[in-house]
């Protein structure tokens, strides 16, 4: 296996980190919908935290992307 192939595999593995972010987003929005269903009056307040939380969770996936790019540079 040459270095390029290894780098490509590594990039793909780094992209696996997106799965965690996906789970996180699912939990986040699932719980958010649950909370809003229980307490519709709090929706405006919850929405703020949902978007902030979404940005945090999404950032985790993007760290994986950065790692993939770094590996790409080493290839």
């Amino acid at each position: 296996m040459d270095a390029t192939a290894a780098a490509l595999i590594g990039m793909g593995l780094a992209a696996l980190g997106f799965a965690g972010s996906g789970v996180g987003l699912g939990i986040l929005f699932g719980k958010a919908i649950e909370a809003i269903a229980r307490q519709p009056a709090a929706e405006a307040q919850l929405a703020k935290y949902i978007w902030i939380g979404m940005a945090f969770v999404e950032a985790v996936a993007l760290y994986g992307l950065v790692v993939a790019f770094i590996i790409m540079g080493k290839a």
Binding site: A7, F69, I70, M72, G73, A75
Partner: protein, 195 residues
């Protein structure tokens, strides 16, 4: 193929920036540009901060303060007019109440008067009836008296007639008396009321 493209990218960067950047995948990790980026980030930020503080924030704060002031004064004015309206409404309520009271009083008065009149009417009617009754009784009495008087007259006439006849037949005094008595009895027995 990937490496070809990256190599080409590196060459491109080298050609454009005049720095060697072979093998770097992400242009963001190219250290040769860091210095001027840091410098200009800070410089741009500071200049923008200065300009915003000097030319942008004061007018925004001024206009917002002016609006707050206006809202406050408008609210105060609204409060004053509200109070005035309340006062007027209270006055109208008072007037309404007094009018209602007056109307009630008038109605009560009318009712009392009507009752008075009714009482009066009843009283006068009773008096009239009583008067009529006494009149009628008096009439009846007169009629009865006249009837009795007539009866007496008739009795006397009969008695006189009888007496005449007896005298004509030369009767005795005892016989005459007896006859009178008989006549009276006869009259009494004919059930004519006598007082």
């Amino acid at each position: 193929m990937v490496t070809d493209a990256f190599a080409a990218t590196g060459e491109h960067a080298a050609a454009a920036g005049g720095h060697a950047a072979a093998g770097s995948g992400m242009p963001q990790f190219e250290p040769s540009v860091f210095q001027h980026e840091i410098f200009w980030s800070i410089a741009s930020f500071v200049i923008l901060l200065y300009l915003l503080r000097k030319y942008v924030l004061p007018p925004i704060e001024k206009v917002l303060d002016a609006r707050n002031e206006k809202i406050r004064s408008d609210l105060d004015a609204a409060e004053t007019s509200r109070r005035e309206a309340e006062k007027i409404s209270a006055e109208i309520q008072k007037q309404l109440n007094s009018a209602r009271r007056q109307a009630e009083q008038t109605i009560e008065e009318a009712r009392l008067e009507a009752a008075k009149y009714r009482e009066l009417a009843r009283e006068s009617l009773g008096q009239e009836l009583a008067k009529k009754k006494t009149l009628a009784l008096a009439e009846i009495d007169t009629a009865k008296a006249s009837a009795i008087a007539e009866l007496h007259h008739a009795a006397v006439d009969i008695a006189m007639l009888a007496t005449e006849k007896l005298i004509a037949k030369n009767m005795t005094k005892t016989e005459t008396n007896k006859m009178v008595q008989e006549a009276i009895t006869a009259i009494q027995e004919s059930k004519i009321p006598v007082h």
